[in-house]
């Protein structure tokens, strides 16, 4: 049997059933919404699966959707199976205030800095991370700048007159 999106989806569905909350295939990329509490189980299972072999974490990031109350933060994981050249994207939705999810550092050491970055910019708490602190922004920063309620511009500029920017 070919190891493709359909196979991956079916195997995950069979094994995790109700923890798989939805799926789609935009641009041919299998995207699965999962139950955040089962993250470690699912990723670990994909990692150790004898055929799928999802042993490479391409990326880990978050997205803020302010209008979805209760599930504002999507934490996104991109997994890659090198032998099969197959990719799977996992999404886990969390509330914006005090969103907790398990850290993947036990499975992928490379998740360490990516989780720190996601914490830095979105405030996602990764439980079990060995050293969850800011990585890119200055330590004194007291907010998570990519949450949509914060302005992108530096607020201390005084020379910007809205009239000159069509605002």
């Amino acid at each position: 049997m070919a190891i493709d999106n359909a196979f991956a989806k079916q195997s995950i569905q069979e094994h995790f059933g109700s923890d798989l909350l939805g799926h789609e295939e935009p641009f041919g990329l299998l995207t699965i919404e999962i139950n955040p509490e089962k993250l470690i189980d699912i990723v670990g299972w994909l990692y150790n699966h004898p055929e799928l072999k999802m042993t490479y974490l391409t990326d880990l990031c978050a997205v803020h959707y302010p209008e979805q109350s209760g599930r504002e933060i999507a934490v996104v994981y991109h997994l890659h199976s090198l032998p099969n050249n197959l990719r799977v994207r996992l999404k886990a939705f969390l509330p914006v205030a005090g969103g907790h999810i398990a850290s993947l550092t036990g499975i992928f050491s490379g998740a360490n800095w990516m989780e720190r970055e996601t914490f830095d910019f979105y405030g996602v708490q990764f439980d079990g991370h060995p050293q969850l602190k800011r990585i890119l922004n200055m330590d004194e920063m007291d907010y998570h700048p990519l949450l949509k309620q914060y302005a992108l511009e530096d607020e201390t500029r005084e020379d910007k007159d809205d009239r000159f920017f069509g605002r």
């Binding site: 890119l136 922004n137 200055m138 700048p145 914060y150 302005a151 992108l152 511009e153 530096d154 607020e155 201390t156 500029r157 020379d159 910007k160």
Partner: protein, 180 residues
């Protein structure tokens, strides 16, 4: 042909030449500024061209780049300074010995440039005093040389007592820089 620096104004006679100490020291300082390049991004690339043989900043007495702040006279800040980099820049400035000058090369160092964002310092003059600003994104090497020549002019005409004056100390204090 080697072009020498002209002697300052003074009294000249057979076997002697008299002028003021200010002028001699000013001349010496201006023509042997040791720059410390603090190059963080694209403007730094222009600086590399400025130092290299086509433009050759060495022609103006800045042959020797100093990568130790202790030995440098001129801090050249070229490029985007992230807020996280701010304390580093300030410490480098602190470590330089007086007299010291600062040149801010490019829109980013001077005002934040196109990076009007939460993570970028909106001009290095928020943390250290700047003597000369070179506009441009990036400025051409000719402009950077022009900036260095302006610094030379400042160095040449600076009074020897300026750095001891209350005014100067107040200026440093306004940047929260300790004065001894």
């Amino acid at each position: 042909m080697v072009k020498l620096v002209e002697a300052p104004e003074g009294l000249e006679g057979q076997g002697f030449f008299a002028t003021s100490l200010d002028k001699v020291i000013g001349m010496a300082r201006a023509n042997s500024l040791w720059p410390l390049p603090f190059a963080t991004s694209c403007c730094g690339i222009e600086f590399m061209a400025t130092m290299a043989s086509n433009y050759d900043l060495a022609r103006f007495g800045s042959e020797r780049l100093s990568f130790s702040p202790r030995q440098a006279d001129l801090l050249m800040v070229m490029g985007t300074i992230a807020k996280k980099m701010g304390p580093v820049l300030k410490q480098v400035y602190d470590q330089m010995a007086e007299p010291k000058w600062v040149i801010s090369v490019g829109a980013c160092a001077s005002s934040g440039g196109i990076f009007d964002t939460y993570s970028v310092l909106q001009g290095i003059d928020r943390i250290i005093p700047v003597d000369v600003y070179v506009p441009g994104c990036p400025p051409r090497p000719e402009q950077i040389i022009e900036g260095v020549l302006k610094i030379q002019e400042l160095a040449r005409n600076e009074s020897l007592r300026r750095r001891n004056s209350d005014e100067y100390k107040k200026m440093l204090e306004s940047y929260h820089i300790q004065t001894s």
